[in-house]
Symmetry: C2
Subunit: 205 residues, 2 copies
């Protein structure tokens, strides 16, 4: 598996294939064609076949892909078949929603601790997790072997908070703050910004 | 401006350029090179020059781009220079966070009404918006000239709710439910699913 050469855009499509396959498997479907996968995900059948071919031969020409096998393979490729430990930084309205988003757990992403710098929030609990002060961040990241930090802080604090998380050993960041982060290249950063999505929509309206 | 031929992937990068330019302008920067834009956004300078060239000549060779002018042009291209009217469907923890996300308003995206099907939530207020029953959705979309619906509902309700919004006249959907929607091709749908982002990250870990 020559995964090192897989373009980022291909990697970003794999979770959408995985989501669709899981949905199909839950409904008892055993085989799927690239055409049907395309109808569900919005990508062309040729694109889907090319994307999957980076990782091996998963289907037989004309017979489609076995749903369960391809789902298992994608989970392995995306490393969803292991447990991931996360911290959440920022216990505002978004932070609350993220702690309560149970879909994370179903995919083996576990928020282990929540941090905030607001003395009024520290000590309160969200879904059983006590909000901790930022002074506890580094120790928690090390002790709990945290892989990923979710940043749900205001834009003006994101860079500083991101640096703290990386210094403590986090290898990846899911950033909800609407600002780009300048971090070492070996740190994997993914952004979620609904304004970016809305602007990509209103371009077409 | 031959915008019809612009690839979707280019359109999705424009908001990131816009966000960066706005940040630079707020700090008094007047000119920016494609190299500096690349450092901030993570795209190559050649990619950025190619993306922007779809829409015209914004800079002079060797002199960089005028920050304010390029920001204004991108706002015009992305139609951020007009007011957009949105409804939010789903008043759970995520819905609350979205209503309170003031950055939407700064970019002219206005959530005008909130809907839910839970009798316990209907009549309550979030940030001054009263949660309305789904039976009011169609009338509100028509009366308030709503362009976009944000879906923050469980996956099993997303398709039905999306169809209701489209039938009432919505032209675009921002979908937070972790499921693909089957809607007419003229409806523009954008998805936000943090699991997709996390899986794109853990591929690399």
């Amino acid at each position: 598996m020559a995964q090192a050469q897989v373009p980022d855009v291909v990697v970003r499509r794999l979770p959408l294939y995985l989501r669709t396959l899981t949905y199909m498997e839950d409904r008892g479907q055993e085989v799927v064609s690239s055409t049907e996968l395309g109808e569900w995900t919005g990508f062309s059948p040729a694109q889907i076949r090319r994307d999957l071919s980076y990782f091996g031969e998963f289907g037989k020409q004309g017979l489609g892909y076995p749903v369960r096998y391809l789902r298992e393979q994608l989970e392995s490729i995306l490393h969803v078949d292991q447990q991931w430990h996360l911290v959440l930084i920022g216990a505002g309205a978004l932070g609350h929603a993220l702690v309560k988003y149970h879909t994370f757990r179903r995919w083996n992403y576990h928020i282990e601790a929540v941090f905030d710098n607001d003395p009024e929030k520290i000590g309160q609990a969200i879904d059983g997790l006590t909000i901790q002060p930022m002074s506890e961040l580094a120790r928690t990241i090390k002790e709990k072997h945290i892989d990923i930090a979710i940043l749900a802080v205001p834009a003006e604090h994101a860079q500083e908070v991101g640096e703290q998380a990386v210094a403590a050993g986090v290898r990846a960041i899911l950033n909800y703050a609407p600002i780009n982060l300048a971090l070492p290249p070996e740190v994997h950063v993914s952004h979620i910004d609904p304004v970016v999505n809305l602007q990509s929509i209103t371009y077409y309206l």
